[in-house]
Amino acid sequence: MRARDNTIVLKHDHPMIKSMTADRFFDEMTGAGEDIRQPYAHYHQWFSQQDADRLDKKSREAEAFFRRSGITFNVYGQADAQERLIPFDLVPRILGSQEWARLARGIEQRVAAINAFIHDIYNRQEILRAGRVPVELIANNDAFLPQMIGFTPPGKVYTHIVGTDLVRTGEGEFYVLEDNARTPSGVSYMLENRETMLQMFPELFSKIKVKPVSDYPKNLRKSLAACAPLSAGTKPSIAVLTPGIYNSAYFEHSFLADQMGAELVEGHDLRVLDGHIAMRTTQGYKRVDVLYRRIDDNFLDPLTFNPESMLGVPGIMDVYRAGNITIANAPGAGIADDKAIYSYMPDIIEFYMGEKAILKNVETWRCGEPESLKYVLDNLADLVVKEVHGSGGYGMLVGPAATKAEREAFAEKLRARPGNYIAQPTLSLSTVPIFVDKGLAPRHVDLRPFVLVSPQGINIAPGGLTRVALTEGSLVVNSSQGGGTKDTWVLED
């Protein structure tokens, strides 16, 4: 199988965040100048009193802790079966309570709109009828699952868990890079990073009041339970469906199941019984009401989707449509991750929420539109061009990094199938310092906050997962290419 659920490996590799030749990026600790920005004031003061050797030792301890705990991801297909660690940097990324509040409002608005959008797309399709989003965008999209048409999941929730990828370019300048409405991963790193920081630097947390994230598993459980089908009664049974121990994100699956107190199941533990999905226990079969699945749509039900799938549960779609199980996230929710849909997100938010989008989208040219295509062809050297449904950097052009010949070859492809592409400008990503031999050095970061959706409301874990490009000048935060993570702090008021 193809593991899409790749720990915290980014599906994109941020090519638009091309390092500009311009020397200054917005640094979240020092801003544009030499002054320490307010959120970092106390931390910076503390840091300047620390002994570098001690921090170095702490850093190594953290690594040993991660290894011992098995917080690793498997890279299979490599001769070296050694499991890999995602490097952890001990300097936190800090957000002030005000800037976070604004971000959180924006995320909440966006996620609510995404849910309304997905529901609409699988039901009345008002947004298509209104002509706000072109039909072709849905009709020709593999992430659109006809089997979801005319069905509303329990609680009317499609994206129970969302990861909204954000980047920053200035003081108040946040952009949404992409929405992850399938099965966003990385939340276990958010939680473990905080645990590690608490163990390493307890004194910091008594000095600086940071909003806790440790409620996440409890909130996840509560949120999933609130989405259970009516038949579940007051104490719904929740299980996490994993592809198994060889999946690269298995650690996260077992971690979340453990933290939620939910069973961690594989497809072969489950079957249809008495109108429900049931798991095989030592004492017979026991009903599952909510399945937090960490496998792709295509593998979910061999009776409905890929018949070769060994990971899924045959008949689960029948039980689902009969209203007797909740699948989180809903099959077909991935339609919202599409890059062309992304370009319509400001319209989508306005359509469903009746207000302007709070968070900015990265400006996106849809090459299917003639004027846009002309602009893109004229400015190819400054743009990043991506395939609409592609992921993982296939078939994309990074204008500033490409040779003239490459650009010309790509222009041909663009002219041949313009509707297949979008283009975006390059962004100058903010930096946050990391700890190096002799102190601090700025590195580019992004942010993935984790959002829970239930009929009771939208809950955002304060902060999220900060990914950092550890190589100087690099803009690739991808863990498979030298990216690391940081603890992310949101300060109390």
Partner: protein, 265 residues
């Protein structure tokens, strides 16, 4: 016309079943062409696990074959009054948008032979006539006969092979109509053959959507539009969507299927 139908499908398994599911679409619903008076679906050797309307608004059942069993028997039986509407089902709306029926599927993906047979549809001013003509040309190009095609044969393969059954005829029609931008869908159901009570198998035909008439049926195999001898059971983008029974089984050994079908007045 009042038709009485009794349709039994028996699966026998060489070795006792460990775990097997059957998804069953064998329940007709009321349309402009038919009214269902009574209908029942009974299962012997298994239990019904779920019942729902699927994305094409087909009433669908999931059946779990009894563990350790070697036979499951699915019987659909009932009485339906049918009306001759000259093949016109009309503007029956389901949950799915019309554009869904313009999308290619794995079984209806067009290749060169489909493109050729669909060519005259392009720019046609009388699409209804053009579709009837298409139906006739398909029947001519693909001789009716069993043995050469199976459930997963694509429209393109069947047309190139020149021999097939009603499923192939319907899917070729659908693939060609979609090429011309006409929404089209697959229908499974029953046809009472005038000269006999015992029918060989269930029937399949196609429906195309025309703005003026709504859905119109085309039975390519019989060169006509469905009349009062037809009972419509399920529909979808292709056979996979509308198949009367599709299943999945864990375990070894062969399985055999026996169908008995009676449609009578």
């Amino acid at each position: 016309m009042q038709l009485t139908i009794s349709h039994t499908t028996i699966y026998t398994y060489e070795t006792p079943v460990h775990y097997a599911l059957q998804r069953v679409r064998l329940t007709p619903t009321d349309t402009t062409q038919q009214k269902v008076h009574s209908w029942s679906l009974s299962v012997e050797g298994g239990v019904q696990e779920a019942q729902y309307l699927d994305h094409n608004r087909n009433l669908t059942h999931l059946v779990n074959v009894d563990q350790g069993g070697t036979e499951v028997r699915l019987t659909a039986t009932g009485t339906v009054t049918t009306m001759d509407t000259a093949g016109i089902l009309g503007h029956m709306t389901g949950p799915a948008p019309l554009w869904l029926y313009k999308r290619e599927t794995a079984l209806t993906e067009a290749g060169d032979t489909i493109r050729d047979i669909a060519a005259p549809l392009r720019g046609s001013t009388d699409m209804l006539a053009a579709l009837h003509d298409l139906s006739a040309r398909i029947a001519e190009a693909v001789e009716y006969g069993t043995g050469q095609t199976w459930a997963q044969t694509t429209a393109e393969e069947a047309l190139a092979g020149g021999r097939g059954v009603c499923q192939d005829h319907a899917q070729i029609f659908i693939a060609a109509a979609r090429l011309a931008g006409v929404p089209a869908r697959y229908v499974s159901g029953y046809l009472m053959m005038d000269d006999r009570t015992e029918q060989d198998a269930g029937h399949a035909w196609a429906e195309a959507h025309l703005p003026s008439l709504g859905w119109v049926g085309f039975d390519v195999s019989n060169g006509q539009s469905p009349d009062e001898r037809y009972v419509r059971i399920a529909s979808g983008r292709d056979y996979t969507d509308a198949a009367p029974i599709s299943g999945l089984r864990q375990g070894e050994g062969d399985e055999r299927m026996i169908v008995t079908l009676q449609v009578q007045q």
